[in-house]
Symmetry: C2
Subunit: 225 residues, 2 copies
DNA sequence: ATAGGCATTGAACAGGTGTTTAGTGTTTGA
DNA sequence: TCAAACACTAAACACCTGTTCAATGCCTAT
């Protein structure tokens, strides 16, 4: 439960305002003055508390990362990202700000984005290993690469949420967030692919395997002429 | 073959410089002065030719969209995005600028991003329908939603390319682009999932189906208390 | 009670931004 | 040939940016 009101320290109020604006507009477009206004303080106070706009960013980074780490990734043992999605669906608008912030971090070049992505991949890798051991997930040769693919697929919902909502014609209040309607509409197709596959047979897989084999033989580390 | 030299009209040179910088730094961070310098002209001339920075953006939008539409999506009948990837692998650095530009467009709120995403979804949907008819792709109940999922998964490589390269430890010259090494490493795991599935049985799929059924009964269009 | 440290503000500053303007050559069409 | 149109530049303009600074009030410890 986020305390939306006045019981926060001024410093925290500024930081939360910054998280909201950095997430919505990106770090560059969001101005110190806008953050100050949203927090109900003067621009000078923002600098006084955080040293600089960059200092404000790192403070936001740390807070968002700690937030998502504590209530998000770490405690969700089974189901990997799926549990997080379930949490999100039960109460959207709660994580909305953090999610938007992380989306921007993943798009920009940001240490927070890097850390978050790595955490998701690591978490996914663990889940896959556990699933393979438990027999619920197919045995993959390259678990790490598979985890990267799965993580990338999962995070695409985060990165492209705006377009998913738009194409599926959902009435979305937030311009980038994804609503329950959209998520419901995509769950079954995604799980069907993950369960029965997308292709009917291994034709494409075999072709790709041959092509890659050939490719490696022809020019192992060089470029084509 | 992109003419990299001087045989372009000044207007085109400015536009190409803008595409490069907009793609690398984003529209806001890229300055008119930087574009002018890169194109070897004065800042005033940029405005003279395009009216405003926003006008320059729409010119870039139109050009990139026309470029990708002509040589990219439309002519690639089979294999959907996969053919495009093949083209890209044969000669990276050629599409690099346009790809970066489109990534920014997809991340920002941009009409070009919208148009591109819609085009990819439409193209994917057609490919799936054709694949189902030909028997190479499994029959899906909701072809459109499936196409959205596939398109989203494919584009995640574009959106998260930087993180993919980083996590897989590739030596990437461009900070966001994806190299052949990374793509090679991800092709087989992705195709394996698409061919044999990710899970071993329909346990998760059935559970999700039941949960969604239940969910729809409990609160069809309302929120939980 | 009083001094010192804090949070806070309003105003200012230096630098960067998109854009304008006046002016200069250079092409081009009658 | 001449004038109008064009491509182009240097300098300036107005505005917005992050940041600084002096001043003010408010606690709190002595």
């Amino acid at each position: 439960m986020r305390s939306s009101a006045e019981d926060l320290t001024t410093r925290a109020r500024i930081r939360d305002a910054a998280i909201g604006l950095f997430g919505r507009d990106g770090f560059t477009r969001a101005t110190v003055r806008a953050v100050a206004t949203l927090a109900g303080v003067s621009p000078g106070l923002v600098i006084h508390h955080f040293g600089s706009k960059e200092g404000l960013r790192t403070a936001c980074d740390q807070h968002v990362l700690a937030q998502t780490a504590s209530q998000g990734l770490e405690k969700t043992n089974p189901g990997s990202t799926r549990q997080l999605i379930q949490d999100y669906l039960n109460d959207p608008e709660q994580y909305a700000q953090e999610i938007a912030y992380i989306r921007q971090s993943l798009a920009d070049e940001s240490d927070t984005g890097d850390a978050f992505f790595d955490a998701v991949v690591r978490q996914t890798e663990d889940s896959i290993s556990a699933g393979i051991a438990a027999g619920t997930i197919r045995k993959f040769d390259d678990v790490r690469s598979t985890a990267v693919v799965i993580a990338s697929n999962s995070l695409s919902i985060l990165m492209l949420g705006r377009h998913l909502s738009r194409t599926l014609g959902a009435v979305t209040p937030e311009p980038h967030g994804i609503g329950p309607e959209v998520l419901r509409q995509l769950t079954l197709p995604a799980l069907e692919i993950y369960t029965h596959g997308f292709y009917t047979d291994s034709r494409f897989l075999d072709a790709a395997r041959d092509a890659l084999q050939q490719d490696t033989i022809n020019h192992g580390r060089e470029h084509a002429p």
